[in-house]
Symmetry: C2
Subunit: 235 residues, 2 copies
């Protein structure tokens, strides 16, 4: 799971005490929306996952293709299995979705930055709603898990990723919060994910969001040839 | 996740060199079957989970009820969401299921032990198929997870539990192997679970089964009031 660094406080500029109320945003507004991904987003998702593998220096483990993603994702209704939220950004208000999902109302938030966000890869991550360009800035992939002790489901966040030029702005927090909010809405008991023990910035960020890091548990993984060996196992 | 200790080698007694071939099992045969759990098994599942909480000294975290389990399990076809295999044991061959699932052919295996297995709680864990008593000895609960790097699903094993009187016999290995075999059958890429870092016996057992322990990852958990705080979050 890629780390989203702690966000700075919102950069709302103080109003001069005698000035009239501001009626238009000052600085550089960025309109954002979190929405459910759809099958047509797979090319973006594939590129985002690859960037995450590069960021984590794990490209040797990267074997996903657009085809493998298409065949394994979007097979169940949202939230019942693997689910992806995408973060969209635009310098103008984002048009409403033409075919909104009945399962999830997109979350919108307007940020205001002192300096413009410079995206060197905007072309590769652009969607056009009519004439309006919207940029895909990141994603979160999650799915239900289950706590037998609680006797109820939760969500496990497999990946949280914000593209480099959009980090440290609060977007990672926005994506993870959206998952937590959805968990509460569904009456789920937990949201869980994993973090590398040396990634102090990420751990601090997650703790600020209310998470606890469990120190004693270790992940066991059976994969590759060791897993294939069970194909004909007389268990 | 409860530890199932490493199994001893099968206790097949050597034949006397000039004796005729054995035609009946010697010692104490135990007939076992792994099958999918069904809603009518919830009372057993609840008792097994409670025993697991006692074993792990985590009863303060235990809040599952038969009602909560019933309302959250068995909502999807097997393997698509939360799935439970049960281990059945009997001193006689176990009758075939009257309503076998098309998704899974039960796995049967006969063990032969030098001494009989003494189950002080057999009454509380008995199922009768006609006149034949069969004992529930343990369970494994698992569900799909997803690796974006592989671009394919896997299974996450939330719980593996064998009742105390049946431990160190190979039944834990049998349950976990059944999950691994099912993962291979479905073309999945991984089977994962967690273990406590001080549980050396469990770690050794899992490594003997082909698993790798990932040393650097830590679990983050957002739960309780910290999770509820996101109910009205302006993310």
């Amino acid at each position: 799971m890629a780390a989203a660094a702690p966000p700075p406080p919102p950069s709302a500029a103080p109003e001069p005490s005698m000035a009239p109320p501001e009626t238009t945003p000052i600085g550089h507004p960025v309109f954002t929306r979190i929405r459910l991904a759809t099958p047509s987003d797979v090319p973006f998702i594939h590129k985002l996952i690859h960037q995450m593998a590069v960021f984590e220096r794990l490209t040797h483990l990267f074997s996903a293709t657009e085809s493998s993603l298409s065949s394994n994702l979007f097979l169940s209704p949202p939230f019942h299995s693997f689910t992806i939220f995408l973060l969209e950004l635009s310098s103008s208000p984002i048009p409403p979705l033409l075919s909104p999902s009945p399962s999830f109302t997109p979350i919108e938030k307007t940020f205001n930055f002192d300096i413009p966000l410079n995206d060197p890869e905007s072309d590769a991550f652009s969607i056009y709603y009519g004439n309006q360009q919207v940029i895909i800035g990141g994603f979160v992939l999650f799915f239900p898990n289950y706590s037998t002790f609680l006797g109820k489901p939760g969500f496990y966040v497999e990946d949280l990723f914000v593209r480099e030029c959009y980090r440290r702005k609060g977007f990672g927090k926005m994506l993870l919060s959206a998952v937590a909010k959805q968990a509460v809405k569904m009456g789920y008991g937990r949201v869980e994910w994993v973090v590398l023990d040396w990634n102090v910035n990420a751990i601090t960020f997650y703790e600020q969001m209310g998470a606890t890091v469990l120190p004693e548990w270790r992940i066991c993984r059976l994969t590759g040839d060791a897993l294939q060996a069970y194909q004909n196992a007389n268990v």
